[in-house]
Point group: C2
């Protein structure tokens, strides 16, 4: 079993020191990492983003124009759109909180996924299993990664063909929707922390 938790924890401590880990998620991240069967490899407490893509669907080559982890104002989003070069396509995204956790065993992975699901993170899953080897009659799984993910999400194309499309009223409506996604996500994150405290 490749289990490089110690090394990952040193890096995480450095990131926390440097202020690179989302404050809102620190209690959840610390709680999960205090359990011997788990370590986290990445996390985000949810965000609103404005991104530019060279063309429709080409998210691999996106550029971030603006990113906010708290509800954002019309003025801030509009300002990013005003600075847009006019090239490609621009999307406004609301993204769910996400945490990736490497789990020591499949049972531990399944338990964590179920606790996250019960706290409202309905898209939580076992995202990948790195290797598997047969040893005697057993199959062994390595680097089992759980993804904790919720359903809050929005992907809105807001500019293209050299034009920002929504008027002020519509853009405000879109931003209200995005902020509402973020607020629901924050509430669920509190529920997640409580559920993990009680059951992990």
């Amino acid at each position: 079993m490749s289990w490089d938790k110690e090394q990952v924890m040193v890096k995480l401590d450095e990131k926390i020191q440097d202020g690179l880990v989302d404050d809102r998620f620190l209690p959840v991240i610390k709680l999960i990492n205090s359990h011997p069967d788990y370590y986290t490899t990445s996390c985000c407490s949810g965000r609103v983003q404005v991104i530019e893509l060279p063309k429709i669907g080409d998210k691999e080559r996106s550029t971030v124009l603006g990113k906010w982890h708290e509800p954002v104002s019309y003025e801030k989003v509009r300002s990013e759109l005003d600075n847009w070069t006019g090239e490609g396509v621009v999307y406004l995204l609301a993204q769910s909180p996400i945490i990736h956790i490497v789990c020591k065993t499949m049972s531990a992975a399944s338990q964590l996924r179920n606790l996250a699901d019960a706290a409202g993170f309905k898209y939580s899953s076992i995202r990948s299993i790195k290797e598997q080897r047969a040893r005697s009659s057993d199959t062994e799984f390595e680097k089992i990664t759980v993804e904790i993910l919720s359903t809050e999400r929005m992907d809105v194309p807001v500019a293209g063909d050299g034009r920002v499309f929504p008027d002020k009223e519509y853009l405000e409506f879109i931003i209200d929707n995005a902020n509402s996604c973020l607020e629901r996500a924050h509430d669920k994150s509190k529920a997640l922390l409580e559920n993990l405290k009680a059951n992990l």
Copy 2:
């Protein structure tokens, strides 16, 4: 191990007879079900939808106003928006193909997830494990469900506060984006069939 494939296959045959299974996905569905370690429980080859929600974010109580499994015209979407009652919030969604597969063993689940991932279905995961029991020293997993899912997706709020927001040009741009999601999804579905044929 609860393995009720036979019963599920009878129901699937009835659904196919009744034309309730997406033609586009029939070859993939038949191929997966021909393997002794797998059976499918649901599938959709991807779609564009217009849905109405009582309020922002309340997707549990949505009503479908229009649904298309092939690229859709501006006129068809506009017609659904013209028929909207003016209540609640309306979203236009583009949704990835999705297949749920119950797998006999964790190894079989991991293999299928990896094949789907390699074919471009990058959000594929082990979505749930129904039960687990310790028998002697082993942990046993039951009803392991793999979800084959791609990244194509769009969630655009298009109407609310009693008003349809986008003008003709913007709605056409949104629909172009949605159709483009669907076309990329269809291409990936072909890649999935080929990868499963070669490796399953």
